[in-house]
């Protein structure tokens, strides 16, 4: 169990680093997919089965395929990204490290919540999840459908070819 946790964590962190350092965007996408699969494994370890399945379907199945589709459509796989200056890279490394340091330092000094002894093993399952989603969270659920509609319209308008108008 502990071994599985550390294995999945190591895979997730390594592939996340590879996303940043890969030269070509296709390699970044592949490493991000590996990272997401490791995170899905973490969900299963935490007994959140519905989320694990949805995560695999939505992220690795839909979003990452969308990324790959755009990369191949636009032929972005050329490795001609201009290099940033050295001091910019150094600043990125330092600020990322400082953020990690501050966050871990903040957590080290607080007592996190203890484990809830009235443990309910059913909370991650589909039936219980659906009951909560359609009772307590009904309004956000319906609002998210409006969000999706606006995203569809927005993506279509953005993707449309602009007409060149010479009015002036």
């Amino acid at each position: 169990m502990i071994f599985l946790f550390y294995l999945l964590s190591g895979v997730a962190l390594l592939s996340a680093l590879m996303v940043v350092f890969s030269r070509s965007p296709i390699n970044s996408v592949i490493h991000l997919i590996i990272c997401f699969l490791a995170i899905a494994g973490h969900y299963i370890l935490l007994n959140a089965q519905f989320l694990a399945v949805v995560h695999i379907i939505v992220y690795t199945g839909a979003i990452m395929v969308l990324f790959l589709f755009v990369i191949m459509l636009l032929n972005l796989n050329k490795e001609n990204e201009p290099h940033k200056k050295l001091y910019t890279k150094l600043a990125a490394i330092i600020s990322g490290g400082m953020l990690l340091l501050v966050l871990t330092g903040a957590v080290k000094s607080v007592a996190l919540i203890p484990f809830n002894e009235k443990f309910d093993s059913q909370i991650g399952l589909v039936g219980n999840f659906g009951k909560i989603l359609f009772n307590e969270f009904m309004l956000p659920f319906e609002a998210s459908s409006v969000l999706f509609l606006s995203a569809i319209i927005g993506a279509m308008i953005l993707g449309k070819k602009e007409k060149i108008t010479n009015n002036e």
Binding site: S9, V20, S28, L46, A92, I93, S95, L100, F119, A155
Partner: protein, 109 residues
């Protein structure tokens, strides 16, 4: 039932917190480090996912399903964000023929 409880208890919550912070920091670092817009979008996805994992860990330790419902909504927002972001990227590639984020400064003046 008892098996699941002991299995989840075996890993302290702090380990999940540190893992999520590390993933989030890698995402922030990637945004600052790269100039390719599509890799920056992927780093945003990475940050969203680290928050999702943290929500799920707290939800499992508290036995509170509301956290997992929140993760569901974050996934919805992430899907919407990717769809709009990628269409902006397609438009940018069509107009300036590059995905370098430094060229997106036309709103400045």
């Amino acid at each position: 039932m008892d098996n699941i409880t002991t299995a989840i208890k075996l890993i302290p919550l702090e380990h999940y917190v540190f893992l999520c912070f590390a993933l989030f920091s890698i995402g922030v670092f990637g945004i600052l480090f790269r100039r390719n817009t599509i890799v920056m979008l992927m780093c945003i996805e990475l940050m969203l996912n680290s928050v999702n994992l943290l929500f799920t860990a707290f939800s499992a330790y508290r036995s509170d399903a509301a956290g997992q419902v929140f993760v569901f909504f974050i996934m919805v927002v992430a899907a919407v964000e990717v769809a709009v972001g990628l269409s902006i990227l397609v438009m940018m590639k069509r107009n300036v023929n590059s995905v370098d984020v430094n060229l997106l400064n036309k709103l400045k003046n």
